[in-house]
Amino acid sequence: MTQAFRNSDGGRIDRGKRVSFTFDGQNLEGFAGDTLASALLANGVRLVGRSFKYHRPRGIVGSGPEEPNALIQLGVGAHTEPNTRATQIALFDGLVSESQNAWPGVGFDVGAINNMVSKAIPSGFYYKTFMWPAAAWMFYEKFIRSAAGLGKAPTEPDPETYEKRSVWCDVLVVGGGPAGLAAALAAGATGARVILADEQSEFGGSLLASRDRIEGRDGADWAGDVIDDLAGMPEVRVLSRTTVVSYHDHNYLVAVERVNDHLPLGKRHGPRQRLWKVRARQVVLATGAIERPLVFAENDRPGVMLAGAVRTYVNRYGARPGNRAVVFTNNDSAYRAAIDASDGGIAIAAIVDCRAQPEGALVRLARERGIEIVAGSVITGVRGTKQVSEVEVATLTQDGSDVAGARRSIDCDLVMMSGGWNPTVHLYSQSGGKLAWNADLATFVPATAAQKSREAGAVNGSFSLMAALAEGSRAGSAAARDAGFEGEEPAVPACDAGPGDGVLALQALWDVPCGRKGAKRFLDFQNDVTASDVALAHRENYSSVEHFKRYTTTGMGTDQGKTSNVNGLAIMAGLRGVDVPEVGHTTFRPFYTAVTVGALAGINSGPELLDPVRKTPMHHWHEQHGAHFEDVGQWKRPYCYLRPGETVKQAVDREVLAARTSVAILDASTLGKIDIQGPDALELINRVYTNNFATLKVGACRYGLMCKDDGMVFDDGVTARIGENRYLMSTTTGGAPNVLNWLEEWLQCEWRDLEAYCTSVTTHWAAIAIAGPNSRRLLAELTATDLSNEAFPFMTWQDGEIAGIPGRIFRISFSGETGFEVQVPASYALALWRALMTAGEKYSITPYGTEAMHVLRAEKGFIIAGQDTDGTTTPYDLGMDWIVSKKKGDFLGKRGLERPDTLRDDRKQLVGLLTEDPNEVIPEGAHVSPSPHSNKPVPMEGWVTSSYYSPNCGRSIAMALLRGGAGRIGETVAIPLEHKVVRAKITRPVFFDEEGERLRG
């Protein structure tokens, strides 16, 4: 085929640039400037897809985002993209396209069997069947699922990239048709920062599809000149191939720019698509209108198209969707399309007009050209399975509810239909704007804007070129003025759109009678919803707009009802005997057209960018020494260090033993550190911890527990008094940001009389914990500070120089071992770590990870907030009564701890558990039961929070939160596991060095 349906001249395609592509394996040619749809039509391809439910043959209906049928699987392999509208695919060399939802092919499709049984499967049929036997649904569902869906997802990761830009502007103009161009020009002239976005490759909107003239030029040329003018304005940004898809609160709009989709793979550079997030002071919506199909019998045959779309193909692409057309309309605009089509070489067999006496400039023009007008009539049937071959026409009865008289057949290969125009109010409606029903136009138009936006042109129902230009200019000037920019409103350019421009003289025509039972009159082409389905929904009382939409699935396809919504509402209104506004309309949801997941995600995915990766200064060293990392919040922490041939358990055991027998070091840099200063710093600390800090002397450290005001444990850590009015608070790794925010909130909002300042110094100071009997000896080699027990007792700290690095030495220990923690500025930490490793060689110094740290602290019964607590645990539950001050005044959590439920003595309380079999390690999370063999539900009385094999104890150890546990020491309890019951003795939760001699030693 060699573009048999291409005119030899006219249109905005470049006949000098041939473009090869394939459709369903067939090699075809088009021209630069084509869409896939226009190229297919030029090549005489009419059958392009199968419908969702009945698998009926379908052709191209529209010319833009409204297209319901021509959904294409575009590209192959990793580049494949399902459900792409042929009407919006820019043709490029080497483009590969395939039809969808048909097997083995679009010409012969096995799924079309659904069409034969379609009588039995109306809307909602699935709610009424597949219920027997009870388990049957999942059986039937398998078949339904595989039959449903449209295109195929890629099976490989996307090789292309996406990016985002956040921008602001004074005026955002959405839509680059005549109204939008006039608005941008008027706003831009004031010096305001303007963004003009249009979804097409070229600006001009309706001008590209018409033969209108502006200022003595072809309308499309005028559009090009305007774009040139705008390019000369430094504050104006012009974005083509950019669809504004959503309108959010506070004038925040999102647009998708298709940067590369129109290029052959080899010519793509940079991101595939770019998401623009625009905060606009003022918005001008010049989003145009979308033509409405007519709902008549067999209106889904390939070759039944929107009249305006045919006009577009002829005028813009020089492509003829057929050679002989019947026009079916209820308004004047289709006459314009008929005249243009006729001039473009399509014979107009007849114009079938439901109006009894159509008149007006365009009607006269058509008559003058000798086009037959069949007035007061409708199409009652369309023949031709894979392409229209003839239509049947009959006269409407007086009241329009039925047809009468003889049927007349008219041969044709194309039907051009127009049921009027729906303003593209999607964004307007998303912004919260209210819609009003315009009876003359039989559609919804904007009424009251909710945000700082204006509408111009066809979106307002102003369909003439003159009105579009005038409203555009006015809206652009006014928007700029409201954004703070004064300027003269430019004169509206002179224009000529021919006689009768913008006049519809529409007569509402919804469910078109055909005098036959069971004839399918399609409303939603993609989802195969017919007028009878609306009637069924009404009959069964799914009559409210949302019920009808959901029950019939009207408007829920990929076109989101752009052509079906108003028809559906009106047909339902007719059935209910009310006006359309009483039925109302469904809410317009983002997005106007579907948005690629990749564009919404941008660059923020993958191992580095999904979430910041936080690494300590020693991270690289850890990596080189076999560290097996775990994620703790955003941090990467060594879980253990694997030596060659070692299992994780062996490594952990080795590290745990080393800490108790010689010396081991831990990278503790991730623990949160907050520097608190000010005359009231102490008061602040005293109010947020449950225990008393008033007695803490400079140079001393104290462990503290923090509760929320309900008395539940929130975080814990050691706080050191650095100076008279200065403290260093440490927090858990994951809790650091929360604690800082917590302090700030109380300081700023509630305790405004306190003068204290909190600064996160987590990443300023790196920290190394040194644990084990040789820790003092090792550290002494690297510092002049006297580390003896007398000079440097437990729970104190001193400034010191370690390995020549000035820092702080803390005599604290989370391992329960003799130990120190050294903090130095982060940039010196790796040097210190290396110095310790070198000096420690003679003690077989061992780096240890988080798991060894957990085992060590569990041997001592030290809790981990978030592991041994869960947001329902009080300090009393932890057996830490000693940490709740009875002396000091109020503190956060004090009153919460006195509520009836927190005072109960049968709460879950922390205990130790020693299994009868010392080698049995109870799984963490296992539950304790008083009657493990009872029928389910088996009663539970607590759960194991921490459980390890302790190489130092030579047996397993566990901690549990157990109902009334504090009073049950010595009891044996049962822990029912999947295949056995483990028995364990309740102990105090401390398993090693109960007296703390090592700690203080």
Partner: protein, 418 residues
């Protein structure tokens, strides 16, 4: 008021006459002057309550008052996940009761609610997640709720599109699966309950907004509505999204805050996923509908709102993580996003309770997880209203717990809030 039975036979019989013989699924009656019980809120929970009042307690002089269209709140806006793998006994027992009702619901209602037990997988991305899932698993096992811990490789077998490579920001370390869990068709649940409740003679009155609650001597006597006053001996309020508004009418202050929760669907594609996968850590919830759309749940916005729309950044974050976990989605397109209003309680557990006002009962605070509870919630609420005391299954979900501190803290315990 016996309805035509739905079956393949009635469908074929009706087909012969172009489906002109189907009766209304429910009537649209005018409100009567008085009822024994008024249910405020015609969502799934309210309609289920009405149905079980009739079926289990023989109370049929009941009206369900809905300010919009039935099933139009969160019932029709959620991601349709049904599961019962909760941590705390109180929650587990209630949700399990609900899941069991779901298992026979299509037959009970003679309406296909398309309950599909294709399994729900929870992912673990770090050691903490693994511990939490394990704790939940042990509790579920003892509570008689099916639950298995599974490895990343097993997850990959069930859902081949998942990326279990170690080279992503938060790799999948493993997870759990509840095989009896799955999806149901949300609208069908509301419509099925409505149809059967109507069959019992219960009046479902749409476009009837309650504007006031009449109380005399501490006892309810009726409601004021946009369609006039209606008397009632008892009133059960199930106004998801508007709990505070309705509660205030009865003089109650509630521990509830309303937030937007968003969800979205992709364009339909051929089947790629036959289970439900949830990840709390990276906030991704995904399943594929029978139509072929990927159904994605996002998180809630941090601020109070009664607008059924949320912020874009919530969606962006969710999709960022989605691309990591399911790399094939990147070229697919999001077709539609929407929001609902969820009423959240401080402990992420609902209130199904008597109130200080005699004859006034409150069912609210289901947060992000109400759909799965629909049958169970209706069942226990009907009991609470009919007997004027809670059922054993909802005793703990009392309003008083916020005074005593006896919270059922699913949130605090890091159990799944979705």
């Amino acid at each position: 008021m016996a309805k035509m039975k739905y079956s393949i036979f009635s469908l074929l019989r009706q087909a012969r006459d172009y489906h002109r013989g189907w009766p209304k699924a429910w009537r649209s009656p005018e409100p009567k002057p008085s009822y024994d019980v008024i249910i405020i809120g015609g969502g799934g929970h309210g309609l289920a309550t009405a149905y079980y009042l009739a079926k289990e307690h023989g109370i049929t002089n009941v009206a369900v008052l809905e300010k919009g269209w039935l099933g139009g709140g969160n019932t029709g806006r959620n991601t349709t996940i049904v599961r019962s793998n909760y941590l705390w006994d109180e929650s587990a027992h209630l949700y399990e009761h609900s899941l069991k009702l779901f298992e026979g619901l299509s037959q009970d209602l003679n309406y296909n609610v398309m309950f599909s037990q294709r399994g729900v997988i929870n992912l673990a991305h770090n050691e903490h997640d693994l511990k939490e899932l394990s704790r939940r698993g042990h509790a579920c096992r003892l509570n008689g709720i099916d639950y298995e811990m599974i490895s990343a490789e097993q997850i990959k077998q069930i859902a081949p599109i998942i990326n279990i490579s170690k080279n992503i920001r938060y790799p999948v370390l493993g997870g759990s699966i509840q095989r009896r869990a799955g999806n149901a068709r949300h609208d069908a649940v509301a419509w099925g309950y409505a149809r059967r409740a109507d069959e019992f003679g219960i009046d479902i009155i749409q476009n009837c907004e309650v504007t006031g609650i009449d109380i005399e001597n501490g006892r309810v006597t009726g409601v004021q509505t946009t369609r006039g006053p209606i008397k009632a001996r008892k009133i059960g309020a199930v106004p998801a999204g508007h709990a505070t508004v309705v509660g205030n009418m009865a003089g109650l202050t509630l521990p509830v805050e309303s937030h937007p929760l968003q969800a979205m669907v992709s364009e339909p594609i051929k089947p790629v996923l036959d289970t439900v996968i949830m990840s709390n850590t990276v906030h991704v919830y995904i399943s594929q509908s029978d139509k072929g759309e990927l159904v994605l749940g996002a998180g809630i916005d941090g601020f109070n709102s009664y607008a059924q729309r949320g912020s874009l950044d919530v969606i962006e974050h969710q999709l960022e993580a989605l691309c990591d976990l399911y790399p094939i989605v990147k070229r697919l397109r999001i077709m539609r996003t929407w929001g609902g209003i969820v009423d959240t309680c401080p402990d992420a557990s609902p209130i199904v309770s008597k109130t200080p006002v005699e004859g006034f009962y409150m069912n609210c605070g289901w947060g992000t997880g109400g759909f799965k509870a629909t049958p169970g919630s209706g069942w226990v609420f009907a009991h609470t209203i009919a007997q004027d005391r809670p059922h054993r299954l909802n005793e703990a979900f009392d309003l008083k717990r916020f005074e005593t501190g006896f919270l059922i803290d699913e949130h605090g315990a890091a159990a799944v809030a979705h």
